[in-house]
Subunit: 350 residues, 4 copies
């Protein structure tokens, strides 16, 4: 079987590097283009990239030339790790040209016809693509993965919400530094410290959670009407976001039921058994008092699962819990790769 050629947009940045790491040896996809900013164009990847994640880049990419966003890209899928402003212009252009754009950028997450997808949560929203193509007049299409923190918030509670409707949600996050990219946060600002603010993050968590926990009526996205309040903090952790959740229901499940629902959750059939799917549970519920922890739990099952713990009752809303996921894998590049795999399984890409 021939692999599907894919491009990585923003390939030299920290999310671009994660895309490379996840796609370097992918069973369905092969990297056919690395696309960078003006500073990098024309250089080899070796020259252009300051590799900041562990180890070294795949050796077969070292001499690949970095392409420009203006170039025609030899690919069927484009994974986008572009900055918002650039994404706005380029992603639409590529979709227009017939490319399937799997974006990690926030530019189109609030667009009414662009799905924000976590396959196991709302994989069925993929159906929006047809409407999108028509409405926008594109040959290709565009889908996005949510903000990294939203991923942690939504993954564990979505299956509960399908049975016991959530009407209130309080989120306090303890987010890893890699969420701000590289160079990102100076050591001198975050060492021995907490920064109780991340620009735009609270709004993203609130808006995207409502979308992901909403429904599709006809081909219309109906966001959840739950009330959400988010407080986002940066802590000196490298990778792995932690969120403390407090959840209110119209009619609450028992703690045991909530745990059971999370443990058994598999997501829709279309989202299962993809190459990047977790091998075991999508949500791991731990019993120990002192888990989940970002350093100990972020890498479980290739960094593609969400680990939950301390599920207990809340005296203000109904249930409290803590959720950890790898912000740069499940919450960013890995989420977009999973979205693309679902596109293939659903027959959108051949």
């Amino acid at each position: 079987m021939n692999k599907i050629p894919v491009a990585i947009l923003g390939a030299t940045g920290i999310v671009g590097q994660r895309f490379i790491e996840l796609l370097a040896d992918h069973p369905w996809f092969e990297i056919s283009a690395l696309v960078g900013s003006q500073r990098s164009v024309g250089k080899t990847f070796r020259e252009a990239c300051n590799w900041v994640i562990a180890g070294d880049p795949p050796s077969y990419l070292l001499d690949m030339q970095v392409l420009s966003l203006e170039d025609e890209l030899p690919c069927k899928i484009a994974f986008s790790a572009l900055p918002t402003q650039v994404a706005k212009e380029i992603e639409a252009k590529l979709a227009y040209q017939g490319i399937a754009v799997c974006s990690n950028a926030s530019a189109y997450r609030q667009h009414p016809n662009v799905p924000v997808l976590i396959p196991e949560v709302n994989g069925d929203h993929i159906a929006l693509i047809e409407k999108q193509k028509e409405a926008c007049g594109w040959d290709g299409y565009l889908l996005t993965s949510p903000n990294c923190t939203t991923t942690n918030v939504v993954m564990p509670i979505a299956p509960i919400n399908q049975i016991y409707k959530i009407n209130k949600l309080a989120v306090v996050s303890l987010q890893a530094v890699s969420g701000a990219g590289h160079p990102g946060i100076p050591f001198l600002d975050i060492y021995d410290n907490v920064i109780p603010f991340i620009g735009g993050e609270e709004e993203k968590v609130e808006n995207e959670s409502r979308l992901l926990l909403g429904s599709l009526q006809g081909l219309e996205q109906k966001p959840s009407e739950m009330v959400i309040s988010a407080q986002t903090n940066r802590v000196n952790v490298s990778h792995g976001h932690t969120v403390c959740l407090s959840i209110g229901f119209e009619k609450a499940p028992s703690i045991e039921e909530a745990i059971q629902i999370m443990k058994e959750h598999k997501g829709p059939e279309i989202a299962q058994n993809l190459p990047s799917s977790p091998n075991g549970n999508v949500i791991i519920v731990r019993d120990e008092d002192n888990r989940p922890q970002p350093r100990r739990d972020r890498d479980t099952d290739k960094g593609m699962i969400c680990t939950v713990g301390r599920v207990r009752s809340c005296s203000i809303l109904d249930i409290k819990m803590v959720s950890v996921a790898h912000n740069a894998i499940r919450g960013a590049a890995g989420g977009s790769v999973l979205n693309a795999e679902m596109l293939v399984k659903a027959g959108y890409i051949k």
Copy 2:
């Protein structure tokens, strides 16, 4: 004027060392006894103590012999940094012997006749002492400072609560490692990590906040009936606890009013202008989006103030804010020293 002789119980531990730091050059008190566990008794302080805070111990204490908890202590005030179990027995004994015990331990915080005090919050609860002496048959008496995290929670909201009654309170803490003492938390457990659990802490925050925000009716403590939900986390910060608060009121003030009340708060007259009082505001409200931060704000005004920021409305309860205070100073040794100073000002100790 002769200084008042004071003993430090648990003098070699990390809170004991803070007591020493704060009392070494105190205008009203002089350290007359250092008391340690069996391991230390009979040694000089130099031999017994592994000094873990910055700099060196005061040189005049280096050759002082560490006394035993069995010894008769040459002091009027005993500052206690004892472990709970030991505190239970010893603190009552010393109070019985006529000593004023200012304790940082949790052993007696839930005792109906023992006040948990933050001078600027509930300094008037000092009146419980008379009832306590009578009820317990003690010549001395016992007062406590609250758990370090409770301090951050209660200081900024107490003055608002006096005008606008709080009925719900959600707390998520990001606590410093020094709260667990020394050796405390191994580097290998907390580096690049968050630990979402601190044994007993959530209950302490909930119970002590209700006491501190409660009232004294006659000589009866009436805890606040507000509903509190606490989630406590350890982060890799050395000193300075951060708490994210969400506050619900019977009738809520505006954000501006809440800020104004905090800025103008001075506490009762008996709590003002003590040697360890902050020189400026008790509560500092910062405008910047990204403050307070533990490393940048914990040491302001000798570590005795509470810094608040991000005061804004909450979609679930009414008002959200972030509060930082120095857990080892304001939240522990410094709080107890301030309590003792208030005792002197109130005429309990001569």
Copy 3:
């Protein structure tokens, strides 16, 4: 083929856990016994062990009962992660009973008939075993891996020393916290800090380096007579020791020659192509100015290689370089496993 049954002594400690990680799925060995201290004996491994490395212990070990050091051990090889004092007594006893003891403890490293082995460095010293069995009257035998820091020092310079004799060696180490075990170093001692002292470490580096760079004459160990000076420091890095080396030769090679020798080094045939051998070079020499770095290089090739960089001339001795290796894998458990694999390949164990 039946796998060889192996025991892990000190299985609940941090090096013991590394042994478990490396042996859990080993092609030649199977874990037949987990041995712990009095505190753990009789418990299941699940109950006895506070797993501190990433992820979880292999599930098939969770219900294995922890054995006592007094028990008869159902194994042919015992991997020892015992404290020195305990190792002294137990390792000799097990060797006497016919077991091959591969020790990570320091107790016998200075014994004249016990080899300190890094297979690629002095694999031929394995021949000492015959003399040892005879001299000690043991049915089994005992071999050790060196101190973790010595590993970094010796691996890169040993092949150069075989051609260009080293006569002076200055070592300054920047060592990871995990070298001190768990709980090991308190966060409050090492955060934002360097500790310029590690008890006994400088002597170990000096003595063991001389042994490893020495020769075997007949069956007599002849330590190198080089002059060594070591300064050892603890830095707040979790894993991966860094050493700055300055090397003097009787007659020095050029920088290019030294690099070439390191790059081409494979070690003796008996040490090659073992299950835990690196897949590529034993020593990786990097060109970049700012490498090696412990976090970026420690995990290369399963943590079993040594990465060198900044090879340049020294104005006082002859050549300077920086060397990084994973202290807990190559420098501890992984080194001992490699030693055992060499025993098997050499026919000592069937």
Copy 4:
């Protein structure tokens, strides 16, 4: 007495902020001008500065307007925290205009008529000023403080070198992140890591140490002819450089003598009892095995001393020791302020 007006060049950067901290309440100097880059000119200091050290800027400076390097500066002394390239042009211009420039930049440290000064080490080199004014045709003059790492290296060994001539010096540094300024090093590069390279640093340490340990013959600087080899590393410490020294002598003192000389060192009379001088010893020699440590020793005596420990014999050269000093205070801004104070005491500025 009227205070002497001083300007701070590069006032918004991290060294500029340290100058402000040290000069805000200085008995002899008053800040009359804050000078910044184009980005800051015309703004108030409040608007222009991202204050990154603890606490807040002095309130009386918040509304001072940031001046341009082109402006005429209302000052007698200019403290320079400029980048090298800018310093090259501006510092000469200011000296030409009659201003005494006390620079922390490296631009002129190798100029034959510009002294690199540590008052207690080579305060007498101040005499070069006369020659400099004549040779350069300046009304003012220019003096520099050395690179922050050089400070640690030279301070403890200079007094020994005056009696026992040093002929070889091996330096391995473990340097703090703040030495690279702000934003400086990204958290993602240095967390859990060591970077074994700092551009240009090894050359600076070698060249400047030879100057500082050299002599003035007539008005000619004669650098020491000692052989120096430096290896510089970045560690994840915020402030406080640590250096491991190995020192060779023509004829070596005993360890006890070396310690005695360091303990008794006061520096030339002209360097003593200045406002920023340490209150006690210039060099503190500690007995404990595990000191000095950057976090515990950097702030001693206002951050203006150098703390030494582990003084012991070296098997390759003669004596080894470890030295710690505050890179941003003694090694940067504080050193330049002390230089300026010496100028005043010596009568150069009235």
